[in-house]
Symmetry: C2
Subunit: 216 residues, 2 copies
């Protein structure tokens, strides 16, 4: 295995009994991520479900996602990857889906599934894809997301993995473009609501401690 | 409503009894699509489930997806949209998910769900997104898809909505770039396998009859 920026094991810090999950239902989970990148959504979801996992941070600056040992895990050379009992699962939406379904008592997917897939697909294909098309395209895409949120507290009526996905993209946009709260009131309120969540605070604290090395 | 290229109603052609679906379980389904575009995947899935639906074809050349009446249905101005009992559902993956879950006896999602979401997300974010980055990027993305398929007959062990999504993207790539079967043997075999399916043939026949007007 190549160098990794840092690894910590949540299992060491949180006794199983505290999490209310029986030993039998636990998978061995390893998250490969890069602080502040798309993988942050998977990281938040892991904190939401509260099961033990190991986080291994990779450095974009050192091109660690392109190293042979990592390409053997994910040939696309992208984070996040969640290795579940030795089997790598890629893509933010796939990992969020896995965690929500595997730990249903956390209630992260008690919404209409087809609409959840639709929202996450919209975020990936329209909102995330707009980033590389320039500031105007990004702004237009976020206006669509604002309209889609339609003033609601959560994307699909109640808190779900869709909100985690939405938040991580908007968090990054806020950091890069400082959008006006007047232009995007529902998204700004959604962001504030997410920042109050323990899982979000823990993720940001853990990733900030490692340090952000985001691609341009 | 604006002009539409053509509309046909499968319900008129196929008696309900033939399809083995009780009247009670039927939703009123309208597909807004553009022949040969991403919406083709949703069109194939509708033929796979075999329930009545109305197909309304829009013309990119006449910019019909940007007309106010259509933007009221999908503010993103994109096809496909499946209107289900009056409620619009957008995004290929969302529509495929809806149809597979709504008609489980068609067995279009008897695979690991998280891996299905992961595959479709990979197709949208890596493979589809590579198209605009030039021929070399597209080729590299299809090599990743080939590796991911790993010689299998179907993406996830048995036929599923993932195969429909994969096929539609590869169909388009074949039309645009004529890739070598030697370079992409598993995808080429997958393509041939898909072309044997009745739902695929019916979709291509219906869309070709309207005429392809694909964006550059």
């Amino acid at each position: 295995m190549g160098t990794i920026l840092s690894a910590y094991n949540v299992a060491q810090n949180r006794p199983r009994a505290e999490m209310g999950v029986s030993k039998e239902s636990l998978a061995v989970l390893t998250l490969y991520h890069a602080p502040g990148s798309s993988s942050m959504a998977a990281h938040i979801a892991l904190h939401e479900v509260g099961v033990p996992f190991e986080a291994r941070a990779l450095s974009f600056a050192r091109r660690e996602t392109r190293e042979p040992w990592f390409l053997a895990i994910n040939p696309a050379g992208k984070v996040p990857v969640l290795v579940i009992d030795g089997r790598p699962l890629t893509e933010v939406a796939g990992i969020l889906w896995y965690l929500a379904k595997r730990y249903p008592d956390r209630r992260l997917l008690e919404v209409d599934e087809a609409w959840a897939v639709s929202w996450m697909s919209f975020l990936a294909s329209t909102v995330h894809a707009a980033r590389v098309k320039g500031a105007e395209a990004a702004q237009a895409a976020w206006q669509l997301a604002e309209a889609r949120l339609d003033g609601a507290h959560w994307a699909l009526g109640r808190y779900s993995i869709v909100d985690i996905h939405l938040f991580r993209l908007f968090w990054r946009y806020c950091g890069a473009a400082s959008p006006s709260a007047t232009d995007l009131p529902a998204l700004t309120a959604h962001y504030a609501r997410m920042m109050e969540r323990d899982a979000v605070r823990r993720t940001i604290a853990a990733e900030a401690a490692i340090g952000y090395q985001l691609p341009a």
